[in-house]
């Protein structure tokens, strides 16, 4: 799951790119950190035991912490006028928890999403953070929507 800070599709002059890239890199890193922290917060919400489980649809319980330990922030990737960062989860059961699964015998594992709710929770704060960082630096005017040239997007 990545947060991308991207510029509009314009050809920036080299000197402008040099000016923009460090700011965008820092913003993407901060956005990725916010997302990662939110994922970790959701995974710490419920302290469980091996025999218990979180309600369906809620983030999973923290039993041994293996899932929590496998959460890490992606390093910032710069590509022309975009900078992205995000969160990755390496635990092999992460996809099953996020989406749920049915096995061959029809037994179902109900989903315990923790990535999508995290993204939904930080979408607003990340957008505000990006607006604050880029407001006045390159924007010439501003409305409620798309005039701020560098925006955040979750994917």
């Amino acid at each position: 799951m990545r947060v991308t800070v991207y510029g509009d599709h314009i050809n920036l002059a080299e000197e402008l790119k040099e000016e923009w890239q460090p700011v965008a890199r820092q913003a993407a890193r901060e956005a990725g950190r916010m997302l990662t922290e939110e994922v970790r917060r959701l995974l710490r919400l419920r302290q469980g035991r091996r025999a218990t489980a979180a309600p369906e649809g809620q983030p999973p319980e923290l039993d041994f912490g293996n899932l929590l330990d496998s959460v890490s922030q992606l390093s910032v990737r710069m590509r022309d006028t975009s900078a992205s960062s995000g969160v990755q989860v390496k635990h092999e059961g992460a996809a099953r928890l996020e989406w749920g699964k049915t096995d061959r015998k029809g037994r179902r594992t109900f989903p315990h999403p923790f990535l999508r709710p995290a993204l939904a929770n930080v979408e607003g704060p990340i957008t505000r953070m990006l607006e604050q960082r880029f407001d006045g630096s390159t924007a010439t005017s501003r409305t409620d929507e798309d005039v701020v040239p560098f925006r955040g997007s979750g994917s």
Binding site: E56, W99, K101, G106, R108, P113, R116, P117, A120, N121
Partner: protein, 139 residues
């Protein structure tokens, strides 16, 4: 679930259950049920489940996952299209007694290996109540 989310969900379910075309596609009433680990999946059926933060502020968005269990991809596509047609709007709408938004977010096909030919498709929606009169945009 908070009261507002509860009412939004109730209003939306009432709309889905009352839709004649959807009823025909699903082969009758009582096919839209809450997801439950204690009951086996019936074919065809639509299961709903709330996910995400349901204990936050009452005006917060709530996320709903609909699981479609339908025999055949064509019929499944028809059910999905009908649900989306009577649910998603880009502007606010009356959902039961509350004005709010129903937004379609995402979908994915899942494996359902226990019954060949059955398509298991998950649709994600968000429900959100209008907070102020200034958000009260109508189509």
């Amino acid at each position: 679930m908070s009261t507002i989310a509860d009412q939004l969900m109730k209003g939306w379910l009432a709309r889905l259950n009352a839709d004649e075309e959807l009823k025909d596609l699903l082969g009758g009433t009582g096919r839209i049920v809450v997801a439950s680990a204690s009951q086996a999946v019936t074919i065809p059926s639509v299961e709903w489940m709330l996910y995400g933060d349901t204990e936050g502020e009452s005006f917060n968005r709530v996320f709903v996952r609909l699981d479609l269990f339908i025999k055949g991809a064509v019929l499944c596509g028809d059910v999905e299209a009908r649900i989306r047609a009577i649910s998603h709007r880009d502007t606010s709408q009356m959902i039961g007694t509350i004005r709010g938004w129903i937004r379609y977010l995402d979908k994915r096909d899942m494996d359902f290996p226990s019954q060949p030919g059955v398509v298991h498709r998950a649709l994600d929606f968000s429900l959100e109540a209008v907070r102020t009169k200034y958000q009260n945009h109508t189509a």
